[in-house]
């Protein structure tokens, strides 16, 4: 922590990026070009730092908001085995949130600051979690499709140029793959179950398919951050490329499940060696992104409420810690990362 603070101080005295020694820029570019990892104490361009904070915060926020649609079914899970699996999954998501906030903190921000921005609507989370879980099968559809899309997106991040993020992703992707298999298995049990269960599974896939495709973000020609992120090797593949890869993975899986994907235009394109698929409703995507999806209000309100209602608990823990702190620390430690040297521009 001390090292990071020192580094930030250096940055501050140097002022704007223009003043930074050109050698540092060259060293950074060379490290990225050579596929080396950028570490917290390394020099990095302000915009690289800001992009990473934005992306990692959004990722962390998605993990914790993403607990809600699934937690919605914990108390109604239809068997004790499924209930245990679902509880473990939601617990993992909280853990992923913790990894990602920690990783983001290496960039000179703090979890508190990021949560405040989430609660104020200044940072986003994945648009997918603004859809409601209406039946038990939705839990399976989220595992199969939503986690599947997340994995397709996130596996390349294991090779992201920023070391702490890449390492967090290695751990997260292992657990996500496990969740995805469990979701698939849940849907398989429904699909092969009674007629009512099969219908429930099909209905869930119908509702989650398109939102899952939207998880890859806007089409390449409308993606504002893509080009720079790819140059910095934060991103390795374009949105459309990952989306196509996901469709190619899902089509045979849907067949194996005995469920249909709700897109009459999906067909194998021999020439291109991949599936063609129908047009995404980008107007819906934009509406959800702007806060007008089915659950935006509910999700953020629950998060804010949990945070506000928990304030007295956090205050108590802090007061207790202060009372029982070792006596020798006469000089109060500075609040970690209380004044980030690199304010992050918000996109929302």
């Amino acid at each position: 922590m001390a090292a990071v603070t020192a580094d930030q101080t250096t940055q501050k005295t140097l002022g704007t990026e223009d003043a930074v020694d050109a050698d540092r820029v060259a060293a950074f570019d060379a490290a990225v070009a050579a596929d080396e990892r950028i570490e917290p104490r390394d020099w990095m361009p302000d915009a690289y730092r800001a992009t990473l904070v934005r992306q990692m915060a959004q990722h962390a926020h998605s993990e914790i908001i993403g607990m809600q649609p699934e937690a919605n079914w914990i108390t109604r899970a239809p068997s004790l085995r499924r209930k245990a699996i679902l509880m473990a999954k939601v617990q993992d998501e909280a853990g992923h949130g913790l990894y990602l906030y920690s990783a983001a903190e290496t960039l000179g921000t703090s979890r508190e600051e990021l949560l405040d921005k989430l609660h104020a609507g200044r940072q986003r989370y994945s648009s997918i979690f603004n859809y409601p879980t209406l039946t038990w099968a939705d839990v399976g559809a989220i595992g199969w499709l939503v986690d599947g899309a997340a994995i397709t997106n996130q596996v390349p991040l294991c090779r992201c140029s920023y070391g702490p993020y890449a390492r967090a992703m290695v751990r997260i992707c292992k657990e996500e793959s496990f969740h995805q298999r469990q979701g698939y298995e849940l849907l398989l049990a429904l699909s092969r179950g009674t007629e009512a269960q099969h219908a429930m599974a099909q209905d869930a896939v119908n509702r989650w398919w398109w939102p899952s495709l939207m998880m890859f973000g806007p089409p390449d020609d409308a993606s504002s951050h893509s080009e720079q992120s790819m140059a910095w090797k934060i991103k390795r593949h374009s949105n459309d490329e990952l989306r196509r890869r996901f469709v190619d993975i899902c089509v045979p899986q849907a067949e194996a499940l005995g469920l249909e994907l709700p897109d009459p235009d999906i067909r194998w394109n021999e020439e291109l060696g991949r599936h063609d698929f129908g047009a995404i409703d980008w107007a819906e995507f934009q509406a959800v992104l702007k806060g007008n999806g089915p659950c935006n209000e509910q999700r953020i309100t629950q998060r804010r409420t949990a945070h506000e209602e928990g304030a007295w608990v956090r205050d108590a823990a802090a007061a207790y810690a202060a009372k029982h702190a070792p006596a020798q620390s006469s000089t109060p430690a500075p609040a970690p990362n209380s004044a980030p040297a690199h304010p992050v521009e918000e996109t929302a």
Binding site: A196, R314, D315
Partner: protein
């Protein structure tokens, strides 16, 4: 199983991310223990999802609604200390639950530590947290008496459980933590006449029926289906 369910209701609502992890972790441990116990008797899902309220034998304490975080922690303290002491005795005994208890005692020791640490923090934190901790401990006190009614099947000497001794060990342990937190346990009896042993006879408090209605609804809506 019932306490696990209640803790599961916290998911997405905890005061801090670490507690999301901790409460879910405890809930999972308890659910795991419940599944082993239920499977000893019959089909776990049949027992969980198809019994009606009057057939459940859980303590009234564990079915109490979560309330605020202090209320949840008070419930957890009372139960985890009890469970830890009980499982220690069962693990040392010679009954059919020795194996289960030996495994579970490690999990429960962690639950107990978690609850105790929070009682200390809330009791010795801020004025508000002290008040809330006190209300939680007070409100649930009347449900603690039934924990020491000998459980059917665990009332013989070879079970390793001396219920009277368990009661005094529990009282000493809980008193110690609560006093270290700067609080006192409520005076008076640990239970009224109605609550004593009521849960063990299938006599529950009103919130319990709604809890299992929610829990069982989906399972009951698809008779014979497997999940």
């Amino acid at each position: 199983m019932v306490l696990s369910h209640r803790l599961g209701e916290w998911a997405g609502h905890a005061p801090v991310l670490e507690e999301e992890v901790a409460l879910a972790n405890i809930a999972l441990d308890l659910l795991g223990q419940a599944r082993v116990l239920l499977s000893l008797v019959g089909d776990e899902d049949e027992l969980a999802y198809l019994r009606e309220e009057r057939a459940f034998r859980n303590l009234q304490l564990v079915e109490q609604p979560n309330g605020d975080f202090a209320h949840t922690i008070a419930r957890q303290l009372y139960f985890s200390v009890y469970q830890h002491l009980l499982y220690e005795r069962l693990a040392a005994g010679d009954g059919e639950l020795t194996g289960l208890a030996a495994k579970a005692v490690k999990e429960v020791a962690y639950h107990r530590d978690h609850a105790e640490q929070w009682v200390l923090r809330l009791g010795d934190g801020t004025e508000e947290s002290r008040d809330r901790m006190r209300s939680g401990l007070d409100a649930l006190w009347r449900f603690t008496g039934e924990m020491f009614q000998p459980v059917e099947g665990l009332d013989s000497p070879e079970s390793g459980v001396d219920w009277g001794a368990l009661r005094s060990s529990w009282l000493a342990a809980v008193t110690d933590v609560v006093e270290r937190a700067g609080l006192n346990l409520p005076a008076g009896p640990q239970s009224g006449g109605w609550a004593a042993g009521a849960g063990r006879q299938g006599l529950h408090t009103e919130p319990f029926g709604r809890m299992i209605a929610e829990m069982q609804h989906l399972h009951r809506s698809h008779p014979g289906a497997s999940w």
